[in-house]
């Protein structure tokens, strides 16, 4: 069960183009599992930025010197993350977590291939460690546009059977994308399951590749969220249920980790025809109906 705590920043350090922030957040570390996320209030008091910012949990320490800590890794992309990057040790931070569904772990020792794009590698490092402890074979594919946006390759190398690196500009590793090397890698590792976190188009493609090879695939999606706790219906995407029916599913509570093969990737940003709840109200629009 998620909690809301007044956390305290322990440190913020730069890692390539990212910021790695460690937050003392008792009650969150203790129950978090890989793939879950936290949300942070940004902007101070009074803030003009009302929505909380969501970040995958990179790591937790259940018993730091100061109590449980949570680490996140983030890129500065706008005013909220810029504000976060300017925090200093001892600043206080309003933290909610752990939120969402974690990656589910294979029951038996299996071969797992973990595919991370940019900061999407963060939750996979932790996942990899957990999988290793359970005796799984772990292989990594980490990619980014350039070296400074690559995250976690050292950690990955410490635990994985193999680590493949791709960068789009070729500054390090193979020039190209994770999906260029994934097929070969899966074959070599005889992968049973693929875990992926990164940009949505990457997740779509990883899903296709994994499914083609008969592996199961779990992806952590990243949809814009207003509440992060399941009350607002902002973060939905079309997902096919076991009954074959498409539903607009909340990624904050029914995700962020999902079975990649259930997501209607090509229909994201639409409400596909036949989605549960479309029929009776089709075509009802008006100039003033945008809201509510």
């Amino acid at each position: 069960m998620p909690v809301q705590v007044r956390g305290e920043v322990l440190s913020v350090k730069r890692v390539g183009e990212y910021h790695e922030m460690t937050i003392v957040a008792p009650g969150i570390a203790e129950h978090a599992r890989p793939g879950q996320f936290v949300t942070l209030a940004v902007g101070g008091t009074p803030t003009s930025m009302l929505t909380r910012r969501a970040f995958s949990i990179f790591r937790v320490a259940e018993r730091g010197v100061y109590g449980g800590t949570v680490q996140v890794v983030f890129a500065v992309t706008g005013a909220g993350t810029a504000w976060l990057a300017a925090r200093r040790a001892h600043d206080s931070l309003d933290v909610v977590g752990p939120l969402g569904r974690p990656f589910s772990l294979p029951r038996d020792p299996a071969s797992a291939t973990l595919v991370g794009g940019g900061y999407g590698a963060a939750p996979l490092i932790w996942l990899g460690e957990v999988l290793r402890r359970r005796g799984a074979r772990v292989d990594f594919v980490l990619g980014a546009s350039r070296e400074t946006r690559l995250f976690g390759s050292l950690d990955a190398k410490r635990m994985a059977t193999t680590v493949a690196i791709t960068t789009e500009d070729g500054t390090v590793g193979v020039r190209g994308r994770v999906t260029d090397v994934l097929p070969t890698l899966m074959t070599r590792a005889n992968a049973d399951v693929v875990y992926a976190c990164g940009p949505m188009p990457m997740l779509a493609e990883v899903t296709r590749i994994a499914a083609d090879r008969g592996a199961s695939v779990q992806v952590a999606v990243e949809e814009s969220m207003a509440c992060g706790i399941g009350v607002c219906m902002t973060c939905v995407l079309p997902v096919v249920g076991e009954d074959g029916v498409i539903r607009m599913v909340r990624s904050c509570v029914q995700g962020p980790v999902m079975d990649g093969t259930r997501v209607r990737w090509e229909d994201i940003g639409t409400v596909p025809e036949g989605t549960w709840g479309t029929a009776p109200v089709a075509g009802a629009t008006s100039v003033r109906s945008g809201s509510r």
């Binding site: 069960m1 998620p2 809301q4 007044r6 209030a41 008091t45 009074p46 803030t47 003009s48 930025m49 009302l50 929505t51 909380r52 309003d94 909610v96 949809e223 814009s224 969220m225 207003a226 509440c227 992060g228 706790i229 399941g230 009350v231 607002c232 219906m233 902002t234 973060c235 939905v236 995407l237 539903r247 607009m248 509570v253 994201i268 940003g269 639409t270 409400v271 989605t275 549960w276 709840g277 479309t278 029929a279 009776p280 109200v281 009802a284 629009t285 008006s286 100039v287 003033r288 109906s289 945008g290 809201s291 509510r292």
Partner: protein, 364 residues
């Protein structure tokens, strides 16, 4: 006046305990005046992880329609300065599922459910009300009339007094007499008092003020509207001055009609502002996204603020700002006080609602 003091220290429990927070929305007696706003707390279940739903005045549920509804395409939300623009499109499970799962859950957990309903025709509203009549546990019905009327070129019911009244009448007629019907109005009208009066004349027992303002954001990188739905509803502290004005105007015109106020309430002081303007209770919406513990915090802060002003009962503060100003306290104006400029204002972090004028004795 710090308008958006978030997550301050908890006001002390003694002050809170000293104030009688009970209130009424027409026939509905509530233990306290802080409710959730429709669409901002789902059906209570997820919020319950952060705030005990039984501790709230009531839970106003996401507007429910007869049939399940997929809602709009994404993006459905964009942040705006001190606000939020949304276009959810009333995604929901439909009435039957709501009655089967959500309503019983709320009742079991000790909440008072105020069920918000939405339709696209007068008949749909009537059917929703009629079906709710036989559902156990409904504490009140809130009628969301900010929906396009398919029979009238998609014109929103809330925008025309006659349309609004027709819906309210249909709901009132199909609802048990003991269950209050609240009409939820849109601020996007030339004269909200006119719409309010029409709804009251049509049988509304109270009014919910306000729904979101119609707004829009264009993404300057894609050069297209940010929301898939093009326009959306603007909520949050940005709109609070508009909400306060609506509550003030309607209370001024019809002081006897109970008002449930919402629009940008983020702190106990904001809630008090609405109460002073004429609200008997308030709903917390967007603030929940910013701070899931908001409803509980706001209630505690409100109690603290009321106590600080010398109010023993919440109900005595309802509409208080409408009273003529009291004569200045005896230490008359030009009396040469050397209070340090500015320094007598409450310091950072303390409640900004400490009495400056003495407590309003008149009423105690």
């Amino acid at each position: 006046m710090a308008q958006m003091r978030v997550l301050p220290g908890q006001p002390d429990a003694a002050a809170t305990a000293a104030v009688d927070l009970r209130t009424r929305l027409a026939g509905l007696a509530l233990p306290n005046p802080v409710l959730t706003a429709s669409g901002c707390a789902g059906a209570g279940r997820e919020l319950h992880q952060f705030v005990d739903v039984a501790s709230l005045g009531a839970v106003v549920t996401k507007s429910i329609m007869l049939a399940p509804r997929a809602g709009r395409a994404t993006p459905r939300m964009v942040e705006t300065p001190s606000g939020l623009l949304n276009s959810i499109g009333l995604q929901g499970p439909g009435l039957e599922e709501f009655l089967a799962h959500d309503l019983p859950w709320l009742v079991e957990h000790g909440a008072r459910p105020v069920v918000s309903i939405a339709g696209e025709s007068v008949e749909e509203y009537a059917r929703l009300a009629a079906r709710l009549r036989h559902a156990p546990g409904v504490a009140g019905v809130e009628v969301n009339i900010s929906c396009p009327n398919v029979a009238n070129r998609g014109l929103v019911f809330a925008c025309r007094a006659t349309d609004a009244a027709t819906v309210v009448r249909a709901v009132r007629q199909n609802t048990a007499g003991s269950v209050p019907v609240l009409a939820k109005l849109s601020p996007d009208v030339t004269d909200i008092v006119e719409i309010a009066a029409a709804c009251v004349a049509a049988g509304a027992d109270g009014l919910s003020l306000i729904n979101t303002l119609l707004g829009m954001v264009i993404d300057t990188t894609t050069m297209r509207p940010s929301l898939a739905g093009v326009t959306g509803g603007l909520s949050g502290p940005a709109i609070r001055p508009v909400a306060v004005r609506c509550v003030w105007q309607v209370h001024e015109a019809m002081p006897e009609v109970p008002i449930l106020a919402m629009g940008g309430i983020l702190t106990g002081s904001d809630a008090l502002e609405m109460v002073l303007a004429g609200a008997s209770a308030v709903s917390v919406g967007t603030a929940i996204f910013h701070d899931p513990g908001a409803p509980g915090r706001i209630l505690a802060e409100l109690a603290h603020a009321l106590a600080g002003l010398g109010f023993a009962r919440l109900v005595d503060a309802v509409g208080y700002a409408h009273r003529p100003p009291e004569p200045p306290p005896d230490a008359g104006a030009g009396s040469g006080t050397v209070t340090d400029a500015g320094a007598d204002a409450p310091a950072e972090g303390s409640a900004d609602v400490e009495a400056v004028t003495g407590p309003p004795q008149v009423r105690r």
